[in-house]
Amino acid sequence: MGNTTKSGIALLITLLFNFIPSFSQTTIIGQVRDSIGVINSASLVLKDSLSKSIIAFTYSDKNGDYKLKTQNNRNFILEINSLGYSSETVPIKLAPNQSQLRVDVYMRSEAESLNEVVIQAEQPISVKKDTINFKTKYFVDGTEQTVEDLLKKIPGLNVDSEGTIKLGNQEIEKLMVDGDDLFERGYKILSKNMPAYPIEEVELLKNYSNNHLLKGVEESDKVALNLKLDEKSKRIWFGNLESSIGNDSFYQLKGNLMNFGKKNKYYFLTNMNSIGYNATGDIENLIRPFRINEPASIGDNQSVSSLLNLSPNTLNFKQERTNFNNAELVSLNVIFKPTDKLKIKTLGFFNWDETDFFRNSTEIVNVSGTNFTNIEDYQLQNNKRIAFGKLDFIYNISKTKMLEATTKYNNGDFNDNSNLLFNGNSTIENLQHQNTLFDQKINYTNKFKDNKVFLLTGRFIDEKTPQNYAINQFFYQDLFPSFNNANNVKQQSTNQMQFAGVNAHLLDRKENGHLLELQLGNEYRKDILSSTFSLLENNTVLEKPMGYQNQTNYIVNDLYFKSKYRLKLKDFGIVAKLNAHQLFNQLENNNVSSKQSPFFINPSLGFDWEIDNKNKISSTYSYNTTKAKVLDVFSDFVLTGFRSFNQGTGRFNQLEASNVVFNYQLGNWSDRFFANTFILYSKNHDFFSTNTAIEQNFMQAEKILIKDREFISVNSKLDYYFKFMSSNLKVDLGYTQSEFKNIVNNSNLRRVTSNNYNYGLELRSGFKGVFNYHLGTKWTTTEIETTISNSFTDNVSFLDLSFVFSDKFDTQIQSERYYFGNLQTDNTYYFLDFDARYKLIDNKLTLGITGKNLFNTERFRNFSISDIGTSTTEYRLLPRFVLLKLEYRF
């Protein structure tokens, strides 16, 4: 009734409007209703009748009325939907210039709509929970040159000054490129050298498993990163070249060339420098990746140790300041995928290096009535050439089975020469040595059930290190009184090892999340150590003295069964381990042979408990029995330096120890307050010590087995962020006490206790502006107690300033101060380094300048104490140099 009137008026209006010349807008109005009344909130969609494009839409109001506007005079269809009604479609044809049209809609109800309908997806959407993707363009600001710089920008990731990449506090397992792993744990080669610009996405893989079939079964907390490249960088060659030239012919040349296709990936890298930079970095990780508790990792800890070493001391100091080098490094790395199932990885690596090291030392020995002072002026030159090759085959037999084979070959050739002035005697040492390694590993993995995996691994290693050592002086007259004519000595030695192992490993992840691991295996190792020591007069061998020649064959066969169970109850986890070993040992020293077959069990129990969100504790107790190594069991003396002889026990030994570890964490790393305390206590029920005879010209140390020693270490780190100064205060407190016993010059068993205290403070800003600072200081007190006690305190302080002026220009200044408490003179040293970079052309050309040792500190002295005396050592440092850098990308 009313509606008729309304529509009558509407029609009138429509007609009226028709006479008004409007070119564009047409309004469609109307009402939606059913047989009973009006329909509120019906959806009305106006579409083009041909293209079906949506032109406009609306919902009807409480009175069922709607209004739609359209710009175009065309043919339309109007689609009307309302819940509980069948969809309606009304064709609409607008007359030219028609500005309004009324369309009323009548809807028919759907019978079934009165019942509740539940529509459910068939299976929940799977989400890759352990993967987080970061698209790099949202994080970069243009200052990043290398992958390392890029990763520093990703929230949660940290890169420390050594290039170690961490998520929070945990180091990543590997850095992949489009899913392929080129460098394993040696990822720093990639992160430090690969340019950042081709990377589109960084994928963070949590709970990562090196063996993809172990994913979700093994207890993994590993983190890996995968770099995804943008389309335009795929299958094309790209790279960069960086050259630096400085005063006094200091230089560095770096180059990277790479091509990452879907099937093949290539990475060539080269570095040459004379600025003390150790480009090999983590190359050791590539040659011998060391993975603890990784399934199928048998034999990782098997290697030959050399008897002798002529190498620079490790200093509590930046190594590159004393490393006079001339290094050349080339690495070729290729991944092929001939089929979907097969992946072949090859790695070739060559390294040449010539390093010089300079040291002056004064050693004062005062022990058991023996007093003397030795003065050494030492120059060392090391030459090395290393060639390394690795071949990996990965064959995916099926979705649940995989076969992996790794072959490695290493060949190292070393020539070390020292020029020594020992108490005024000119002495020349020469050590020529080689290292040959062949390593073959095969692993078969079968995931025979969803949460059960079986691995079978076999490995064979053969490694040999022959050494030829010659000294052009005869310091041992007192040892060999009948050889007055001797004027030089030589020692030829070979240390060879063969390892063969098989391991069967079962991992069973229970329904409740508990994990059971069982391993059965056999590891066989044979060591052959031979050494010949000769006294010479010029080139004539006078004597090969008795008691100084070794021919040792040492075989250890370890048949073992290992079990491990991890139990998880809410916030409480327990790990229990029980490892049973049956050994079959055989030792032959200079044709005297003996056998032994001990059996022992190594148990361990640990727990971790998260009391609440802020408080976490974990602790472990373990009892370990370790086997003696070949360098512990040989019978006669060997020369291990120009004035030292060592001797093994000549017997089988198993060493027993108990360890307790305790860790307490308060707060979380990103909270304002965060603290962590770590306590380690260990008790060696037996340990190797020495019975040493010390003379001015030589020392003879005989290995002896002693009972009971203790070691305790406590370390606390506290972080507090001061909001008002946007800076973090770090307090680092540590205490270590170690104790051992030895015999010196026929003394009784002496107890030697050493105490170390360190306390440090650091303050670092987190300003958002141009400038940031980092300053810190740390004291270390060392105390040694034997019959007399000796102590001193050193201090190291630093101040680093950073200025990031713009995306194009930044600079860093680093200064250090060293103070040695026990030096009377020359006890304070200062260093200043700086680094500045300017981008000439974005992504193409960067200019840089680096300055090292700007105060031109030429020498550096430090002081140490031991149980037999004190020593003052002076090192020669790389002089001041300034490098001009130019980096070009292509």
Partner: protein, 260 residues
Amino acid sequence: MTRITFLIVFFASVITALAQNEKVKVSYDLSYGVVNNTETLIADQENAKYSNTFVTVNNDNNVSQESENQYSVKSQKVIKLDKIITYQQKSKDIIYQVHYKDKNKFLTVRDSLPQFDWKFTHEKKEILGFSCTKATCSYRGSKIIAYFTQKLSYPFGPWKFGKLPGLILEVYTEDSSIDYHWKATQIIYPYIDNIDLSLDIEIKSEIIDMKEYVTDRDEKINERFKIMDSRSPKGTTVKSKTQRLGVEKIYEWETQQNQE
């Protein structure tokens, strides 16, 4: 006679009114970063109430064994996210979000939404048996892809999304540093329940505007980044960029420049 007619009309309108206020309940699966959660939309023709629960994300493997006898404890084990209830009305461009820190502690944020400039495409796909049309828009710095069905005539969707000629069954961000993805997993209709979908008056009394809320939140995040920067190791120059990782990256009251 008139009386009877009146009676019939009255009766009929009651039924209509009932039919008109039919509710729908949709469960959505939301995933972004490590978070994966089920969220719920309950809507009638006029109002919508969208809520998640308190989300706790468990990072079970936060104790790592570094070597044979050494453990270290890593980052936060449980990440707790607030419960947020989003209230939308068909006829209004203002959205209220109530953020619960816990049951009694909450904060209401009033957000005057910018217009969704939905662009329709011809692409269609079926979600839970409903034919859905793809629409795209640019919303506060993110590119949004949505699939809606005309068949369910509600102008709502998950979170703050809506204003389409039908219910949104799937919506995701594209070209974003962390992708957000909502997808309907269950639809119940009509959903018979007496739940009140309008914003609680009591809650309404403590309201802050979105702008103020964002400023506060950015300040807190900034502070957190500063803490992390000031704890980075020696020798490294780190400057974390404060980056909004959510769907909303740039607000109308900000310039299009970088927010530092």
